[in-house]
Amino acid sequence: MSKLVSDAMKQQSTVLSMLRRENIYTYSLEVSSACANRIVVGGKERINFISNNYLGFSTHPEVLKAVRKAVDKYGLGTGGSPMMCGTTDLHYKLQDKIAQVFEREASVILPSGYQALLGSIQATVGKGDVALLDSLVHRSIVDGVTLSGCDKRMWLHNDTEDLASLLGRVKNKYQRMIIIVDSVYSMDGDLADLPELYRLKEEHGALLLIDEAHSLGVLGKRGYGLPDHFNMMQAPDVIAGTFSKFAGAVGGFVTGPSDFIDHLRHNSSAYIFSASLPTMTVAGVYKSFELLEEEPQWRERLWNNIAYFLKGLKELRFDTGTSRTAVVPLLIRDQEKTMTFNKMIFDEGVYASPVVYPAVPPAEARIRLGVMATHTKDDLDKSLEVFGRVGKKLGII
């Protein structure tokens, strides 16, 4: 091993070498096609259950048309950070659109969802404040809180009684408290309880920040995420999110009151010290927002596929946990079997993601599946047949 690999890293390197030797390592494989319902991986077409491109917009003809038009006019990138020459007329147009969608005064675009969470937290809290995190929030939120310098407390996943108790214990010790949740949890596919979170934040004088990553485009009558789902658009104080899921692209956003967004622009290192999102991507994302209004049939197809697929998995007696959305875990609860199951379905033409320790506790090892609106009935049926056969062979079902 090279001298750059420390003793602490050697144990992980040994495990990775073993997985590669056993031919069950399926992370970061070479993809040579667009991210559609079928994807070419390792030179062979497979059914795609590994993406977060739930609506399939990354290959929608109208999105691609908008991207081509923008690349002809604006070129590859903006050539600067947002404070320099990196905020084009299309960036402003998309920011206005996001603010309108979430019924807020203003919004700001960042180059990734990760940076959007870092920026939104860094702009909201600091030393003397405390962030109260659901135990399963995305890593970007944990890193954002660390960057902000505020204290960090955790409450049990979706357990609002534990949150209420924590709020009561810490409220007199800090200047400000901020509750931070994912709208939809990335590994389990369950939802945050927005009505109860709103009640608690009002009762205790806390702020509420939600991460709309896996919710935007999926939940709600209009596809505007968790606040739309509960018809509580004003419940969160700050909404952050990403374009990497609902649009299958990249980039992130933060939306809220105009003075707060202005403060973020001038104080968030995640925003200031990075080149801005390429204009061609901005154009594609803007069209994706329009498609939420113009073509609601994609959301309907997604929900039909989720219902059909979940029903099929339950009939096969797979444990799908508490999932209610496009993120579906197949809980196998054994790390070795999880990796083997994943390799076997991969060899049978289904590409999914194994999730093992340290991403989840060993007893919660699972295959993570991302259902798409563009999956055909044939895709779902074939996958169910493969999962059933492999699951029985390994004694999982």
Binding site: L133, S135, V142, K152, R153, M154, L156, D162, R169, Y357, P358, V360, P361, P362, A363, E364
Partner: protein, 83 residues
């Protein structure tokens, strides 16, 4: 009246069981926080915060983060808290 070793064990198992999603009687002294109970750094820090709240005692982070099993932490707390 000072804190007893029995009380420390009961309080600590209650904190860990809640964070691990288990009942206190399901925990074993040799359970490792990371490998057996699936604690990540966020959950480990929250466990320390809840110990701090319960006993109004700030454990030395370098010392306590070195401990890997339930019994190691119970022994550590007994050393620090039982007079």
């Amino acid at each position: 009246m000072g804190i007893t070793a029995e009380q420390i064990r009961k309080d600590f198992l209650s904190i860990i069981a809640k964070l691990a999603g288990k009942r206190p009687e399901q925990l074993k002294d040799q359970d490792r926080f990371r490998e057996d109970l699936g604690f990540d750094s966020l959950k480990s820090m929250e466990a320390i915060s809840r110990i701090t709240e319960t006993y109004d005692f700030d454990p030395d982070l370098d010392e306590i983060m070195e401990l890997q099993t339930i019994i190691e932490v119970i022994n550590y707390l007994e050393r620090k808290l039982v007079k």
